[in-house]
Symmetry: C3
Subunit: 161 residues, 3 copies
């Protein structure tokens, strides 16, 4: 078995199926596009086991607690791995995490976006280790996210072609 998938299995992580969109929503973009040795990763949301968008929805600091938001950020990482698995076939092809842009749907006065996106970063480092998993990041509070999700993250990885 592939190394990264064995690691995920040991951690009890199950990768979700493709995103089940709300009725009437169309997305003309792709979740992962490979160009040369770079895989570009669209903004992802956390998913439930059936592929639907995972809640809680809303603003962090109001409807969503910081702890729930950090869990959602980890869930975003899992969704991204599922998309990468579908596109690359083998997650061991990932040779380096380049960067992530973490976007948090914040209520007025909530500035602890660092701790929220740490849910993503800690998981990636845990799964891929300090060399492959090392990445740069921003963690920014935005005015709104699609469908009022609480956390969205886009990223870029280097892959073996």
């Amino acid at each position: 078995m592939a190394k990264i998938e064995a690691r995920l299995e040991k951690m009890g992580i199950v990768l979700p199926p493709p995103l089940k969109l709300p009725a009437g929503m169309v997305i003309p973009f792709s979740f992962v596009v490979v160009r040369g040795s770079t895989a570009y990763i669209a903004g992802h949301a956390a998913q439930n086991a059936d592929g639907s968008i995972a809640g809680p929805l809303g603003k962090v600091g109001a409807e969503v607690t910081p702890e729930q938001a950090a869990d959602l950020a980890k869930g975003v990482a899992v969704s991204i791995l599922a998309s990468l698995k579908r596109q690359l076939g083998d997650l061991d092809r990932i040779t380096g995490w380049n960067k992530a842009l973490g976007m948090v749907n914040v209520a007025p006065g909530f500035a602890a976006t660092t701790g929220v996106i740490n849910g993503f970063s800690n998981f990636i480092l845990d799964v891929f280790g300090p060399e492959v998993g090392e990445h740069t990041r921003s963690a920014v509070g935005v005015a709104v996210l699609p469908m009022n999700i609480a956390v969205e993250i886009e990223a870029e990885v280097e892959i073996r072609t």
Copy 2:
């Protein structure tokens, strides 16, 4: 005639001249920078035929309707193609759209940013086709955009050197 420009002509699309800035505004950055086989594209606004910033200005969900905003997102794509044409000489040099970051100036409560940025994505796919035009994307609601424009998009493409 180059393939992509013939396609634009057939669609009735005319590329605008360089951005005409409001009096007193200075922008020290470039709209397209080529490094190796990557063209980096600055955040663009939609333009009028004379090169000025296209309206309506303001927040989507308040002064700007979602339909107007999706039209502006298509207009941003046209502005980006104009900048790429000036920098690359030939739009057929574009071999792949890597990614786009769509930023929507939202009024409180407006979360349908996906549909807005679809105006960009659908146009790029229409012009470049499903292989070259395929791209990843985020569509995020921000607190404000320069000059209070409603939609701004930055992107990255792969080019033939």
Copy 3:
């Protein structure tokens, strides 16, 4: 002496030490990650000479003036150069600035984000000159930034390997 560092010295710029985080804050990401000939640069804040986060904190257009914000944007550039120096050893290895994403923590009604991020762009062009320093950019107003800083910028440069 290296060319860029000689230029900084002549300008009276002293690069700050690594970021001194507020008590209890953990950041699992890296400030610069090199993959091939690209250096990815995490979102940075301006720093004081002792490495701590530089103020004023808060929203531009309310607690922070546009002029202070432009100074902070220049300070972000200095912090980024300090991180690049630690990672690359020699700032002359930078062969091109690819892009920057400037994020401004805005008060309602403040849309002059362009002028704020010009503090970054002008400094980079001043230090690196028009060829190496040329870059694309977005300057966006966000709902909040980590620790309520006023300006955060992430970037990407091309380097000699």
